[in-house]
Amino acid sequence: METLMHFLTVFSDPQLLLLVGLGTFAGVYVGAIPGLSVTMAVSILISFTFSWDVYPAISLMIGIYMGGVYGGSRTAILLNIPGAPSAIATALDGYPMAKRGEAGTAIGVTTVMSFIGGFIGIGVLALAAPFVSDFALKFQPRDYMLLAILGILLVGSLSQGSLVKGIFAGALGIAIGAVGRDPLTFAERFTFDFRLMEGGISFIAVMIGMFGVSEALLQLHHVDKDAVRQKITRIVPSLATVKKHLPLSVQTSTIGVTIGALPGTGGDIAALMAYDHAKRVTKNPDREFGDGAMEGLVAPETANNAAVGGAFIPMMTLGIPGDAVTAIMIGALFIHGLNPGPMLMIDQPDMFWFIVGCLVMANCFMLLFGLTGIKLFTKIVEMPRSVLIPLIMLLSIVGAFAVNNSITDVYWMLGFGVFGYFMRHYGYPLGPVILGVILSRLLDDNWRRAIISEREDLGNFFAGVFGSPLSTVLLIAVVLIFVSQTPVWAWGKSRIFAKKENT
């Protein structure tokens, strides 16, 4: 009864309700603008809400978080420029839909699916948080490494066209992620003795360059062509559509919660993994993936919103952040005089239920703001290209600077923008580059941790892998997915099916 009261705090207090709503609304726009990130918004809010009570401060932050994760999909669909890394997969099928004038449908489906994903994430947080965090703690360095390899195998499904070019792009991404001083030993890597390379290359700068600037440069080819008129009559998807994708969305939400709950991995990886999963399990999509398949929207969007609930799981139960945003929230709780840690659930269960309540509220506001105001958003794409292109370029520059207040990042962003332009022309997929950069640290750090823990002994390393059920399962998944992408699989499959037909 007590807990229910705390859960309902946010619903009964108009001020808190307003703050969650305001936060969610602002979050959608923060998320939609590449370079403005939720992480940034929340850390600014710490100073801004310093003198407030803890409840209003947290309400506002949660609103921004929920709205921001969702907002990244907007620009991904409308402009092919993901507003946040977790929306990269959304662009793959969302933008082709917008090119056909179906942006309204795409946004509608995205919103409803984000809502469903968000709820599944919150549900798991509310009902099974201690259980999930125990599971997340079981991940050893070698398991994170296997997870990273699993992630790298996604290159296959992100490279339409040539797989070799995809592999090249993925490897390039991992190399980009290694630039700068190695965080573990401080050795310089790919810095060529330039001081400005020591800080490494911000992956947000790479993303903004490759997707933002290179897209803008490509659009220059047809400045004079009229923008596609968007049909925005049918925004809310029919019940049948939702029902059809419900099984998939439950699966991808599970991926989202799990990846989100693991410290060190977040919504970006979750969304890409979910996209890959959707591609695997969808037998006959209405349209091909990469050509505007609805499933290609459903999977990443449910997963990245489910990851929000997931990220709160280790934060609330152990005081360990599930991602960058929850890390800042831990700081915020600390500043407001709470002691975020494993005792929080025991000392202050009201905080836990209050946060769950805020998340539920923010999720509902997200649905509301997501389904309204689409007209305004679609107007963006219908803007004359002569204004839109320079604006995208300007926003890319400001956004790249804002990530770390660094002019160097702006130069990188511009460099990768031009490079990405050539890559697109010559059929090199860009998704794997970003995937590589995201996974670079996860792979590199954990490989080294794992092998150092075994004193460089590969025998012990594999003994460790096979000694743990979790590692074994991950290894089998890696092998299976790898084999499924090689010709051996197709050959084996055709043999088996051929036999069946004979009998």
Binding site: S51, R181, P183, L184, R195, G199, A324, G331, P342, R441
Partner: protein
Amino acid sequence: MKRYLIGAISALALTATTVAAEYPEKEIQGIIQWGAGGSTDTVMRSVTPHAEAALGGTVVMQNMTGAVGAIALNYVADAEADGYTVLMGAENPMLYKIMGLGDKDYGEFVPINILARGTPLLVANNDAPFNSYSEMIAYVKENPGTVRFGSTGPGGLPSVVTAMINAVEGELDVIAVPYDGDGPALTGLQGGAIDVMPAVLGAAIEGVRAGNMKALAVFDTAENDKLPGVEAVAEVNDGYNTYLPWGPFFGVFVPKGTPDDAVAKLSAAYAEGAKNPEFIELMEGRGFTLMGISGDEAEAFLSKWQQGTAWLLQDAGLTKASPEEFGIARPGE
């Protein structure tokens, strides 16, 4: 036209402020050396609003990460020394030179306020086969090369604490598993990826209180009242008194050459901010020792800290260049 307009407005702004042409006449940029949500970030974001009130100005805080904080340090060192760019950092720049990470340290800065010092704490996974510091030393000596220590790279707190243990107890054969911060390392500790982790008390205390990990010893001269019953290493082995008390610290700095007026005002403001009861409660709750020192006292603290730590690391063979090369004297010489 446009230029004229800007000129006119700025002239107006100037005349408006000449009435009170005193520092600060515009907002101050506070560069936080570490990422959002880290302990430096939290400490700075919680003291600065109080200091702002005392100063009567605005401090815009920004995180600038990369190259173990060297990017932020260089940025502020290269900025104009006018008191409008302030560095909010932790202890590690004092080791940049000997670690080959850069050619600048706090020697190029004037300390505005050294706010607080942390106490290192040795924590272990709950399943580790030892329950106290002495048992751990005995176990490691009996089972060389099996115990995994977490570390955060050369020059980080764990490397200094490990060097201290080696200096006092003799070389211990342990596996140092590198992490990129004490947060991830403590997570790894709870999951059993590492057995022992030297961490700052504030980062580990909640985990210890909840029984998710066990405290072996505090690295101090006496027991800490936050963790009664946990032995202090100096009480176990007298040899530690040479090095302790030691701990990471947080401070606010401006480049050398900043006008005295600005330094005085900033120092007064941060001294006032650090006295705020809310801030004190917050810091003590996390087990930090408040210092609130500035001026000569702070300079003396910095050079003593640097000498002790640099030579400890040098003797442990962890440095890239000898402290001697940079005129860092061996303590007691």
